[in-house]
Point group: C2
Chain length 180, copies 2
DNA sequence: ACCTGAACACCGTTCAAGT
DNA sequence: ACCTGAACACCGTTCAAGT
């Protein structure tokens, strides 16, 4: 049985998107591809590296062409929500391989028109931290609801979009009154 | 060999604080207490519940007496940094048992003087998400550095405190120009 | 009431040996 | 070059049986 790196990444991505991080194991990927677990390590260094390239794929449909921070933040969240546990995976990869989290670079570019490179960096990371924190909470909650360990709170049923944008607008508002 | 719930929580907390989340296993706790793994389940429902009470202990030295959001955010971060992977654990527990994340309530109270309950809630959660996102990244990075899988970036050696406060101030700045 | 022993169903990773 | 077989060192959780 022959396997390619692409097949491994594809299968890992599909497992994550459809069944979440707890279902994404090396052994499960190997099983689905009809191969022994050890075979994967000829194409991929370890699980961390696999997660990094899966995270890159999650962020692939984030439009680098965003013209303003607000819509960049929205697009970032949308990309994360397309995949189960998307925020958690990207969050981990951010520490492991920061350059993979492309929204940071996009936001940095957008803030650079108004702020110096140092402040633009901090500003971009502020937005990224907020988005990852917000989406991580809503996805973690969704996983727990799905597992039946916690029931949907009435406040959740409310308007997550509205709450999300409230925070984004507050941050961008505060940043716009910052000078360099 | 007799074990109490308190001993279990104490040992779990110490393992997390000193060796991080990857070292905090039910089997390790049981081994350290000289008991079989199954014995723990007489005192604790499962690992999730154990993590929840450990998270509560992490937040114990967060002063509920904070008088302004800025120092509350700082105290929140300080409490998280005292324990390895503190942000990750609290992040998970936030979805599982939100009421355990006491800084949210404290911030809510502080914002309530200026904002209505709905906006005060969103404002508190914006700050909480930012703090958790920020600290999660710095702690994840620290774990990877400690494991030797990634080397310290020069930007990290910079001023995390300054970057942190930049974001906090931007958020609070933006929130203060919000009316209800 | 509380614990042991033992199992069930999993993990990530390595590596000699095969083709 | 690439994979198998098999192991190593782990996980969380359950549960009959013992005391």
């Amino acid at each position: 049985m022959k396997v390619t790196r692409t097949q491994i990444v594809d299968r890992a991505y599909d497992l994550l998107r459809d069944h979440g991080l707890s279902s994404l194991s090396m052994r499960r990927v190997a099983l689905d591809l009809g191969v022994q677990p050890g075979a994967l390590y000829y194409h991929v260094a370890n699980k961390q590296e696999l997660l990094a390239v899966v995270a890159a794929r999650v962020l692939e449909d984030f439009p680098a062409s965003a013209t303003d921070p607000r819509s960049a933040a929205e697009a970032f969240r949308t990309a994360l929500l397309r995949v189960r546990d998307g925020a958690e995976v990207v969050s981990f990869v951010q520490a492991y391989r920061p350059e993979i989290v492309t929204p940071t670079a996009t936001l940095h570019r957008l803030f650079s028109t108004r702020l110096g490179p140092r402040h633009a960096d901090w500003a971009a990371r502020t937005v990224v931290h907020y988005v990852l924190g917000f989406v991580a909470e809503e996805q973690n909650r969704a996983e727990l609801v799905h597992a039946g360990v916690v029931e949907e709170a009435p406040s959740d049923a409310g308007k997550p979009d509205e709450a999300f944008l409230f925070g984004v607008d507050a941050i961008l508002n505060g940043l716009s009154s910052t000078r360099t």
